[in-house]
Symmetry: C2
Subunit: 356 residues, 2 copies
């Protein structure tokens, strides 16, 4: 039976990436060695790293004066690296969910943190709209897509102080104006690569302003200066990232991908709206994530939740259980998710509804 | 032509691991998904993580009271995490090479560091023998195998204070007495897995003694309590680690592997001793690494270095150039390196010698 992978992350990857990684394990670039066995200093892998960086810059139209690095540790390590490198006195954070909250908590170790707004009052089911960012803060931190709660910023922010954005779960899903940000970071395991590599896009001029000593590996400058080769990078995940970026470019880039993503999300949200059985957890349409569609059983049908979960599973739907803090269901529609899988889920919802 | 992979790291892996990773990209444990696409919270991957930890404990006979974790960032991040978690007032380091020196440098950010001995006076070509470890230091840090300089500790240390050991390049190559150490850590990309995962074996009772606040991701306790699942671990590298550990167990474990490693190293060192053309860079036999065999052209034959490099390359030898700080050649003979490849290198050295 065909499986449809709706996992929130690690999550579906392009078949192209899977195939290219297999080829590279059999023989990486004609070296006769596996990609898992090749030195990161070999000219073949240096070319992979350079090309991965060049692809990110091209696909996101990264302006001059920005660096792109690939490191280990995940976005969770960035929660500490950002304030370590950027927080001298005060930082502003907006709390839009679990990961935003974790980032905020971590920053408190390094200085004063102002929570400019929070959507906790409604279990994070909206993006706060009216808030004031203190002009004397060192930076403003936001989480552009809230994987667990299914909310997403649709526009780049226009904020006077440096903006740091965790884009773990929506990077490459739509065009962004990188110049609006000082730092963009994310774990790769949604739209880019298998787990084990983290991307960071940094405006070089925002660094070097804090007075604390920063451990070498936690200093962005180390990785910028050594072009992500200060120590051994996660070789296979970086190779896989390059293959996904090649695939994305072939698909027409982030603009073309955005159109497909909007179509996929509309298909599913429309069925949720249409159906009497289901209800979206995010009421405001403009705040609804196109990456993670969260929904629950409608009020009169809550007793059918387990039954629908089992039915969907029997139809090959994988990973649609909602996070425990939201309940219900979550379908993650990352770039690599084909429209046909979304159609299959919608058909499955319709078929289930017809039974009741 | 058959390639012989003598890279110092990332380096040769068992063919079993390569094959099993390919199988798991095609279909991980019957899920119908690639190992690169599967949630780290899936029961199938949780079983992989649990089994990898259990294999480490079994193969190294890790005593009760120790935890095993897998995290990202590489050994270089451990250079900072060790003092962050362990250094309250003073730490003792022995400087036996480039990586030992980097670890020492990093610790200075966190407190007083005593260099108890250094072999820098002879370009790190020996392991210092007589030195005093201050009894009031919080811990003693050592690098058991010095990949660049080809020296190695052959015995577990007997030191009164907690011992922290970087075993990146000789873990699993021989039996060790884990009880002699407080922390053993290493990047996985030599004897364990592809680059992107780091193992740490920690005596639980040594933690919690420093007063500084530790960022969540840099606190060993976080990863111990969450069993390496606080955030998304490097899924594929951990899976590959498990496969290598299974292979090692099938080969008879670290005791059996040690015998083979001694045989491989003896074969190469004997040829270096026998030949008039070559000279080992480490004079004392007892300090010679069985993992990284460093040698140069003998004094009367230095002009043949480039010629031998080209000749060896033409015979399928890959990655035998020495590190720039030593020069000459380095053949890394990690666990996965078959005896036949060492024989091929020795034959190549003999054939070259016969030409002159």
């Amino acid at each position: 039976m065909k499986k449809h992978n709706f996992y929130a992350g690690p999550s579906i990857m392009p078949q192209y990436t899977n195939e290219k990684v297999i080829e590279a394990i059999r023989d990486f670039e004609g070296t006769g060695l596996s990609i898992m066995e090749v030195s990161h200093r070999s000219k073949e892998f240096v070319a992979v790293m350079d090309s991965a960086v060049a692809h990110v810059k091209e696909l996101l139209e990264v302006p001059a004066g920005y660096s792109v690095i690939f490191i280990g540790g995940g976005a969770s390590l960035q929660f500490a690296m950002v304030p370590m490198n950027m927080l001298e006195k005060k930082a502003a954070y907006i709390n839009t969910g679990e990961w935003a909250g974790k980032a905020l908590k971590e920053a408190k170790i390094f200085g004063e943190v102002v929570e400019v707004a929070s959507s906790k009052d409604r279990n994070f089911n909206y993006i706060p709209k009216n808030y004031v960012v203190p002009s004397d803060a060192d930076y403003f931190h936001m989480t552009t897509n809230n994987t667990i709660f299914g909310t997403e910023w649709k526009k780049d922010p226009d904020i006077a102080i440096p903006v740091v954005a965790d884009m773990s779960s929506d990077i490459f899903s739509r065009p962004i104006d990188v110049s609006k940000y000082a730092i963009i970071y994310g774990g790769a395991q949604k739209n880019l690569a298998p787990a084990g590599v983290t991307f960071v896009i940094i405006k070089d001029s925002v660094l070097g302003k804090v007075t604390r000593p920063i451990p070498t590996m936690l200093n962005y400058k180390t990785h910028i200066e050594k072009e992500s080769m200060f120590n051994t990078p996660p070789v296979l995940p970086v190779f896989a990232a390059l293959k996904t970026l090649e695939w994305l470019k072939h698909k027409g880039g982030v603009g073309a991908m955005h159109k497909i993503n909007l179509e996929k999300a509309a298909l599913l949200y429309d069925e949720i709206e249409r159906s009497k059985l289901f209800k979206a957890t995010v009421p405001d349409h403009e705040d609804r994530s196109i990456m993670n569609v969260c929904f629950v059983m409608a009020d009169s049908y809550t007793e059918l939740e387990k039954e629908f979960a089992a039915f969907a599973k029997s139809k090959g739907m994988i990973g649609i259980e909602g996070h425990r803090s939201v309940g219900g269901f979550r379908a993650s529609l990352y770039n690599a998710m084909p429209l046909e899988s979304v159609r299959a889920l919608v058909d499955c919802m319709k078929e289930f509804a017809n039974k009741y």
